[in-house]
């Protein structure tokens, strides 16, 4: 059945000597499919002539769960989608519900949200860089990246007690006041971080092997990227200047100056460069934000029991991996009627088959890595 849906290359063009193709099943237990992605590859020798992604091994029915929880109860669940960037997930959900309620978080809460979310973006990109380099065979960057990520996780831990699935924000603002040294901690992390990114670059950016492995691999042109609905670094590397933080500012992003890095060729190398530059930009946002954190309340007036008026809302944020959207339908009760989540990983993954055709087996892991997918988010 599956084979009929996926337009594999026809037999005539796929083989020269009439040799049979190999169907190689990668995953769901494979060291570099980043979780439980299963990829069926059709190989002619080592050349990939077709692929099919099988997802759903981590499906937990998050959207259905939402229909049976109150708005507040559902908030921790979204942290479990993209568990590498839990803070961003939480921000998207809280803001979507706030929009539905017609409420707004106070300025202080919004600035702290920006700081934590940008730190989370850096952490997510660091994790991506380490694992992506590991997939391509560079063992060492992973440990440097995790060392820096650890600093960020420590800040999260000090702020809300959790490191990974933080549930840092609440609908209407924040539950916890920022701890005393938050600014200092963030600054202590951000000041030397630029140099650290330079270190990673010195290991990879001009390395002949790295360039050879990433340049021209998995090209996605701007038009194709838009057609596939790609977002985040994937679409920006193709040269489309699309960043929701600028296009539809949320939280407090309109107050800060930052650039949207874009690439030209839309290949794996460009996505690498774009993400590195994004880390630098996030660092700048953090530094701007800690300079002036407004005083005042951290929780808006939303009440203890949330009963949004009947209606629907779509709210998207720029998560580390792309456009993370929440579409919530309310029927006026304390529980959402329907929550639909637009996970960036899933939409970006759809371009995988397009990107891999004609490349070699070794490029499969490079392309899976460069899409920066988290299966918790793909499967929900």
């Amino acid at each position: 059945m599956a084979d009929e849906r996926i337009p594999f290359a026809t037999h005539a063009e796929s083989t020269v000597l009439g040799a049979d193709e190999i169907v190689l099943n990668m995953g769901p237990q494979h060291p570099s499919t980043h979780g439980v992605l299963r990829v069926k590859l059709r190989l002619d020798g080592e050349k990939v002539i077709g692929s099919e992604c099988v997802i759903g091994y981590l499906h937990r029915g998050v959207e259905k769960i939402a229909e049976h929880r109150t708005y507040q109860q559902f908030a921790p669940y979204v942290d479990r989608m993209d568990y590498v960037a839990a803070v961003s997930n939480g921000l998207g959900y809280c803001e979507a519900v706030e929009k539905l309620l017609g409420a707004e978080a106070p300025p202080r809460a919004r600035v702290i949200r920006v700081i934590l979310t940008e730190l989370q973006r850096i952490a997510s990109h660091l994790f991506w860089l380490g694992t992506h380099a590991l997939d391509i065979g560079a063992l060492t960057p992973l440990f440097y990246c995790l060392r820096e990520r650890e600093e960020i996780l420590k800040i999260f831990e000090k702020y809300c007690g959790a490191r990974l699935t933080t549930h840092a924000f609440r609908i209407g603002g924040l539950q916890y006041e920022a701890y005393d040294e938050l600014e200092k901690d963030v600054e202590r992390f951000c000041q030397p971080f630029d140099k650290r990114v330079d270190d990673y670059e010195s290991l990879l950016t001009e390395n002949r092997i790295w360039v050879g492995r990433t340049k021209g691999i998995g090209i996605l042109t701007a038009a194709e990227a838009i057609d596939y609905g790609a977002s985040g670094p994937v679409i920006r590397a193709s040269g489309v200047k699309w960043d929701i933080r600028k296009a539809m500012p949320y939280a407090a992003y309109d107050q800060y100056k930052f650039e949207i890095p874009t690439g030209k060729n839309g290949d794996t190398y460009d996505r690498y460069i774009v993400r590195l530059e994004e880390m630098r930009q996030s660092r700048l946002i953090c530094l701007q934000a800690i300079e002036n954190i407004p005083t005042g309340p951290i929780m808006g007036k939303v009440g203890k029991v949330l009963k949004p008026p009947p209606g629907e809302v779509y709210h998207a944020i720029e998560a580390p991996k792309g456009e993370l959207g929440y579409y919530i339908v309310s029927d006026g009760t304390t529980q959402p009627y329907r929550v639909r989540i637009r996970p960036p990983s899933l939409i970006n993954l759809e371009a995988f088959d397009k990107m891999i055709r004609g490349h070699l087996v070794a490029d499969v892991v490079a392309i899976i890595g460069t899409l920066d997918i988290v299966l918790g988010e793909v499967d929900r």
Binding site: D135, A138, R213
Partner: protein
């Protein structure tokens, strides 16, 4: 030479060496793995194994015991006889290849007159173990790994062979012992006469031993574990043993051919004779470091272990220093070349292996087509040019009376120019060759 020593060398040393290679080499391999993990940890800002024994010094033994006790799984669909037999081929080939290698002027199993040819030939047989193991596993990953391995070995064996030929031209013999002696006669190691040849051999030997950045046959992020995917327990350990034995073999070949074998640096120069004290000094330093670290170990047993280790190093230092301190002409003093030769040889082999590790933790992995392109379009032509260059230098030297100091630098520069041209041409071809998938 002392008659007693003569007797011991000719009769007993080969026997003991044989036992040592079969019995102790696996242990040494374990410690090379430990060294690799420690070096890796050092480069990655962490500590590495620290639990079993002080500083993880007993980790290799724990690993070996674990692997021995593990269940030996043979997949139902596998070709059982070949699956069972394949790792043995790899290990046997690796160990057999050590036999003609001279670890110092004393320690050698057999001084074959075709020594180096034997080593290269036998170690290449190890690939059968990999190919058969990969094929018999009846798994796609294993098959792809085995195919990659075979293709890689065929391509790089050629370049490595040509690099070896270059050094053999200089030495004029295939016997490992005489090759080292020839370097003594030249007064310089062959790495300085043929640096390009050494470079080619380094790259090709990394590829031959399937080490990163050429570890495609077992690329873990692509092929899980390549040809070893279906193996487990001790059979898996045999493949591992074969890989590290091969590392020792290629490092020994490189040491013998290019790094002066067991010769001390500046062996012929009297002014550098103080280097004779270097082995003992190094051992004393290591021993002292063990004593320095001992009080910092958390458990009493570990403290004692560290002190014992320190004492052992002092003992080795004493053994190495004894021939220097003993009166000239005595039995002990005549042990000098054997003991110090072994020390220098092992030091060079260790450094070469360290270079392997260093490269592994620094570079990403090549893709298969890139690996092939590098081999066929760059290394093989360059190795041929290198052989011609060395031949030219020898002709200039022997028939035209040029001195070494003009002939070899000239041909080296010519070879480097050729390398530059090859690199430039390859780059140009890469730019024309646009890799486009079937869209």
């Amino acid at each position: 030479m002392h008659a007693v020593i003569q007797y011991v060398i000719s009769i007993w040393v080969p026997l003991v060496c044989m036992l040592v290679i079969v019995g102790v080499l696996p242990l040494c391999t374990g410690y090379i793995v430990l060294m690799e993990r420690k070096v890796m940890a050092d480069m990655q800002a962490r500590l590495g194994p620290m639990r079993v024994g002080p500083h993880g010094l007993l980790q290799p033994i724990a690993d070996a015991v674990k692997l021995l006790l593990k269940e030996d799984i043979i997949p139902d669909e596998a070709d059982k006889a070949i699956f069972w037999f394949a790792p043995l081929i790899s290990v046997t080939a690796g160990m057999l290849a050590i036999s003609p290698l001279a670890i110092g002027p004393w320690f050698q199993i057999a001084d074959l007159n075709v020594g180096l040819l034997f080593v290269v030939g036998i170690s290449a047989l190890g690939i059968f173990g990999i190919v058969l193991g990969g094929w018999s596993s009846n798994s796609h990953y294993s098959l792809l790994g085995a195919l990659r391995s075979a293709a890689q070995l065929v391509s790089y064996e050629t370049a490595a062979g040509m690099a070896v030929v270059g050094a053999l031209l200089l030495a004029g013999t295939l016997s490992t012992r005489e090759i080292v002696a020839a370097q003594g006669d030249y007064g310089t190691w062959f790495i300085f006469a043929a640096p390009v040849g050494f470079f080619i051999y380094v790259v090709a030997s990394i590829a031959e031993t399937n080490r990163a950045p050429f570890d495609l046959p077992e690329a873990e992020s692509e092929l899980v574990a390549g040809y070893m995917t279906e193996y487990s327990g001790f059979r898996w350990a045999l493949y591992f043993l074969a890989e590290y034995t091969n590392m020792v073999v290629v490092a020994s070949i490189a040491t013998t051919l290019f790094l002066g074998g067991w010769l001390r640096p500046f062996a012929g120069t009297r002014a550098f004779n103080f280097l004779d004290y270097f082995p003992s000094a190094l051992m004393i330093l290591v021993g002292a470091y063990c004593f320095y670290r001992a009080p910092k170990q958390p458990v009493k047993v570990q403290q004692l272990f560290m002190m014992g280790l320190g004492l052992a190093f002092f003992g080795v230092a004493l053994i190495l220093a004894a021939p220097l301190l003993a009166p000239k002409g005595s039995l002990v003093a005549s042990a000098m070349p054997g003991l110090h030769g072994a020390f220098w040889f092992l030091l060079k082999v260790g450094s070469y292996i360290y270079l392997f590790m260093w490269l592994r933790f620094t570079f990403p992995r090549y893709r298969f087509d890139q690996l092939m392109r590098l081999g066929w379009q760059f290394l093989i032509p360059l190795s041929i040019v290198n052989v011609m260059g060395i031949g030219l230098a020898l002709v200039l030297h022997r028939h035209w009376g040029w001195s070494h100091w003009t002939a070899f630098p000239l041909t080296t520069i010519l070879t480097l120019l050729a390398a530059g041209y090859l690199g430039w041409a390859g780059e140009k071809k890469d730019k024309e060759h646009v890799f486009v998938g079937e869209q």
